[in-house]
C-alpha cells in the first residue's frame, strides 16, 4: 500500500505551525540565520514547522535561500 506515507504526511498537522502570514513576515530573518549556519529551527520552531508543511511557503523559502547563497558566493 505504497501511498500511505504520502497520505499520512498530508494529514499530519503540527500544532506549532504558525501559518503563512507569520512565516512570511520573518522569512528574511529566518533565511539569514540558515545561511549563516545559525540554529534557525530552534529559534523559530513554529516557522520551521510551517515551512516543512506548506508547499508554497517552502518553495519561497528555498528560492530565497538560493538567492542569498548565490549572492554571497
Amino acid at each position: 500500500m505504497n501511498g500511505w506515507p504520502e497520505l499520512d504526511r498530508f494529514l499530519r498537522t503540527d500544532p506549532r505551525d504558525v501559518g503563512c502570514a507569520e512565516a512570511m513576515e520573518v522569512l528574511h530573518v529566518y533565511v539569514d540565520l540558515v545561511a549563516s549556519g545559525a540554529p534557525a529551527e530552534q529559534r523559530y520552531p513554529g516557522v520551521a514547522a510551517h515551512l516543512h508543511a506548506c508547499g508554497p511557503c517552502g518553495e519561497d523559502f528555498e528560492a530565497l535561500l538560493v538567492a542569498v547563497r548565490d549572492a554571497t558566493d
Binding site: V18, C20, D32
Partner: protein, 222 residues
C-alpha cells in the same frame, strides 16, 4: 495553529546595520545619480532572481517563452516599487538584500498564481474521485489494500468538512490547483486557504483515527 505572533520574537531594537545594508539605505535615500545608480543595480538584482524563479516554476504551470519573461519583468518592477515604498519599514533584522529578495520572490509567487487561470483546461469544481488514489501514490494493482481507507477518507470529506473546506480540498487535492492560484480565484489569500486546509486535514485525520484506520495503517508500517 500556533497563536503566538512569531514577530514578537524579533528583538524590538534590531542589531546595528551591516555596512552593506547601511550603504544601500544611504544610496536609496539620496538624490541624483547616486540614487539612480542604486535603483538600477537593485532592479538588476531583482530581475535576475525573478527570471530564475519564473524559469524554475513556469514550466510546471505550463508558462513558457515571452509570457514567462514578461512575468519576471513585471515582478521585478513591482518589487522595486514596493521596496521603495516601504523602505522605512526595513528595521535591519536581516541583510537589506535578503529583505529585498523576499519581496521579489513573493511577487513571483503571486503573479504565477494569477497567471494560472489563463489555462483553458483548468476546472475548479470538477469532482473526479478516481483521481484520489493517484494523488497520494496508491497503485491500482494494490487496490484491495487501500479501497476501504480511501472510501473512508471520501466519506469524511463529505461529512466532516464545512462546505468551504470541502471546496478547497476538492480544488487542491483532486484538481491539483496550486494554493496561491486558488487564493486568487476565491478572493482570499495564501494564509487563509492554508489555515482552512490545516483545519480540514486535522478533522480528516481525527475521523479516520476514530474509525481505526490510522492505527491500522500505522501498525502495518512498523
Amino acid at each position: 495553529m500556533a497563536v503566538n505572533r512569531v514577530v514578537n520574537q524579533i528583538p524590538a531594537a534590531a542589531a546595528p546595520l551591516d555596512p552593506e545594508s547601511a550603504e544601500w539605505l544611504r544610496a536609496l535615500a539620496d538624490t541624483g545619480p547616486r540614487r539612480e545608480a542604486a535603483l538600477a543595480r537593485l532592479h538588476g538584482m531583482l530581475l535576475r532572481i525573478a527570471q530564475r524563479e519564473c524559469r524554475r516554476r513556469g514550466p510546471r504551470l505550463r508558462i513558457t517563452g515571452p509570457e514567462l519573461e514578461d512575468l519576471a519583468y513585471q515582478a521585478a518592477a513591482d518589487a522595486l516599487m514596493a521596496i521603495i515604498a516601504k523602505l522605512r519599514q526595513f528595521r535591519g533584522e536581516s541583510r537589506f538584500t535578503t529583505w529585498a529578495y523576499k519581496v521579489v520572490i513573493l511577487e513571483v509567487s503571486t503573479k504565477i498564481g494569477r497567471h494560472f487561470w489563463r489555462r483553458p483546461d483548468v476546472q475548479l469544481d470538477a469532482e473526479d474521485w478516481n483521481r484520489l488514489p493517484g494523488r497520494f501514490g496508491f497503485e491500482p494493482a494494490q487496490e484491495s489494500e487501500w479501497r476501504d481507507l480511501l472510501a473512508a477518507l471520501h466519506r469524511a470529506v463529505d461529512t466532516e468538512l464545512t462546505p468551504r473546506q470541502r471546496e478547497v480540498f476538492v480544488a487542491i487535492v483532486l484538481n491539483g490547483v496550486p494554493l496561491d492560484a486558488l487564493a486568487v480565484r476565491l478572493g482570499s489569500n495564501r494564509n487563509a486557504i492554508y489555515k482552512m486546509m490545516f483545519d480540514a486535514r486535522r478533522k480528516l485525520r481525527t475521523a479516520l483515527a476514530a474509525n481505526g484506520y490510522m492505527d491500522h495503517h500505522t501498525s502495518r508500517r512498523s
